[in-house]
């Protein structure tokens, strides 16, 4: 069988890390989710949700399918808690995606569950093959060397997978307790310099280089945080404000379905 990652050879490793936002946090504003889909070159991208950090919450899975099923993409999810009853060939499925979208929740549980299933290695392979890795909150911090998590109650620094150098703190404007812990950790050198990201803002990395900062809301910002003479310094990065999707055409889902039918018919014709 050909390596499922091989067809993407030559694509730049891409990570989109959101401070908060997308279908779970901004149900009325699909700007960040549209942006994520646009990062995949495929016309009908395969998008797989990993709801691991939320304990595979039915609610998160339902919202994902509500947001993505009517779009021009193939939306699936992997529930690690239900592999016993709903088995999925994990590596094959993940390496066949265009986008892997990681939901929020407990960062410590996310990483423990991924390691228990060998996902850390599979996701690195996926990243190197150019599959877009996207996520919010725990699903953002996991890609960096360090994050600031509330997985054990009070906010504390926690190690991530380290695909991206540096640190990340999320919900920067939305949670009062997390920011001071992050600033102190950077100031003391407990975590490397990095980025604090507001709800509604996201960092696009091509390779390990920050390529673009975008936002779904006018006031959402990202902040470059580093230590100068033992003090944390924050520099605001103004994001590019994404255009809101024009008022949804009620006929759009039908158009998507028609295009799928047409493609299926063509495929069938070719096979016949």
């Amino acid at each position: 069988m050909p390596d499922p990652g091989a067809r993407r050879a030559g694509r730049t490793p891409t990570i989109f890390a959101m401070g908060g936002g997308g279908f779970t946090m901004e149900p009325g504003n699909p700007a960040l989710d549209d942006y994520i889909r646009s990062l995949a070159p495929a016309r009908e991208p395969k998008v797989c949700l990993l709801p691991t950090a939320g304990g595979d919450s039915e609610d998160q899975i339902r919202r994902f399918h509500a947001a993505f099923d009517d779009q021009l993409c193939v939306a699936t999810h992997i529930s690690l808690f239900r592999l016993g009853t709903r088995p999925v060939p994990l590596r094959e499925h993940l390496l066949g995606q265009d986008v892997i979208y990681v939901g929020g929740g407990s960062m410590i549980n996310l990483l423990a569950l991924w390691r228990a299933h060998g996902f850390d290695a599979i996701l690195r392979e996926a990243w190197q093959a150019g599959i877009v890795l996207a996520g919010l909150s725990a699903g953002s911090m996991c890609w960096f060397e360090w994050g600031v998590t509330r997985s054990i109650g009070r906010p504390v620094p926690a190690r991530g997978l380290g695909f991206l150098p540096g640190s990340n703190s999320v919900h920067y404007d939305g949670e009062r307790e997390r920011r001071p812990v992050y600033l102190e950790a950077v100031a003391h050198g407990d975590v490397p310099p990095g980025w604090g990201v507001d709800d509604g803002a996201g960092l696009l990395f091509r390779g390990t280089r920050l390529a673009e900062v975008v936002a779904s809301r006018p006031r959402a910002r990202a902040h470059r945080v580093h230590a100068v003479a033992g003090e944390a310094v924050e520099e605001v990065i103004e994001p590019r404000l994404l255009k809101a999707r024009p008022h949804t055409d009620p006929r759009a889902p039908l158009a998507v379905q028609e295009m799928r039918d047409l493609r299926a018919a063509r495929r069938g014709h070719r096979r016949g």
Binding site: G54, G55, F81, L83, G84, I108, A112, R150, I152, G153
Partner: protein, 233 residues
């Protein structure tokens, strides 16, 4: 927490009440193996109501809104009840929060530990788990130095898979059907009980490279005293 059948819940509450010398034992539910599914937590409180016990639960996915000192909370219980789900996920999350150590401490301090499915497998040194259709061994907390297989009657492939694993070097252990339960005092099996008349448990060991299975004497908890007399005769 079998629908309409409280026999095993009643039994374990009795054991916990005796262990804690309390009429209303303190019971904490860990729904970790299900990913802290809301409906499971609700079911726990329905089966373990405040009228019978002092119940609580710990969500390891939402620790930002729970008790700070998990170890102290667990050590303060008479009974810790671990729910079913994925044993691989359960062990991964328990270890990430240091609860494998805290639960061992609780056990050594005399807190009664119980659970079903993944919540049974986790107490043993090795767990047989149905995974991607095929079974494979997973390391548990290891309080009981034996292996464990659950839902033994549920799918036909479980018995041959467990036998093959034990014959192939997995420590011998206990295979348990739905509705049957093993009651250990320390590391020793004290009693096998069941909530269904036909439910059985088995000891499986390797003898010269072959798995040998022994059926264990099981007390059906639903028998009336008269029936018990007949059964004993």
């Amino acid at each position: 927490m079998e629908a309409g059948n409280p026999l095993l819940d009643d039994y374990v509450l009795g054991v916990a009440a005796a262990a804690g010398a309390r009429e209303r034992p303190k019971v904490c539910f860990l729904p970790t193996a299900s990913g802290d599914a809301d409906h499971y937590v609700v079911r726990f409180y329905r089966h373990f109501p405040a009228s019978r016990c002092e119940s609580s639960h710990v969500s390891l996915f939402r620790r930002d809104c729970g008790t700070d000192d998990l170890r102290a909370h667990l050590l303060d219980q008479d009974l810790v009840y671990v729910g079913g789900g994925s044993v691989i996920c359960l062990m991964g999350v328990l270890r990430a929060h240091g609860l494998d150590v805290a639960l061992r401490e609780a056990w050594e301090a005399g807190v009664v530990l119980c659970g079903l499915s993944a919540g049974s497998l986790c107490w043993f040194s090795e767990a047989m788990t149905g995974y991607h259709g095929a079974s494979r061994p997973v390391a548990g907390i290891g309080l009981i130095p034996a292996s464990n297989a659950v839902h033994y009657d549920k799918e036909p492939h479980r018995r041959p898979a467990y036998h093959a694993a034990v014959a192939g070097g997995m420590p011998g252990g206990y295979a348990v059907e739905d509705g049957a339960a093993l009651h250990f005092a320390g590391e020793d099996l004290a009693r096998v009980v069941s909530s269904r008349p036909g439910a059985r448990a088995y000891r499986v060991d390797a003898v010269s490279g072959e798995a040998v299975e022994l059926s264990l004497a099981t007390d059906y908890l639903g028998a009336t005293p008269a029936e018990e007399a007949v059964l004993a005769a």
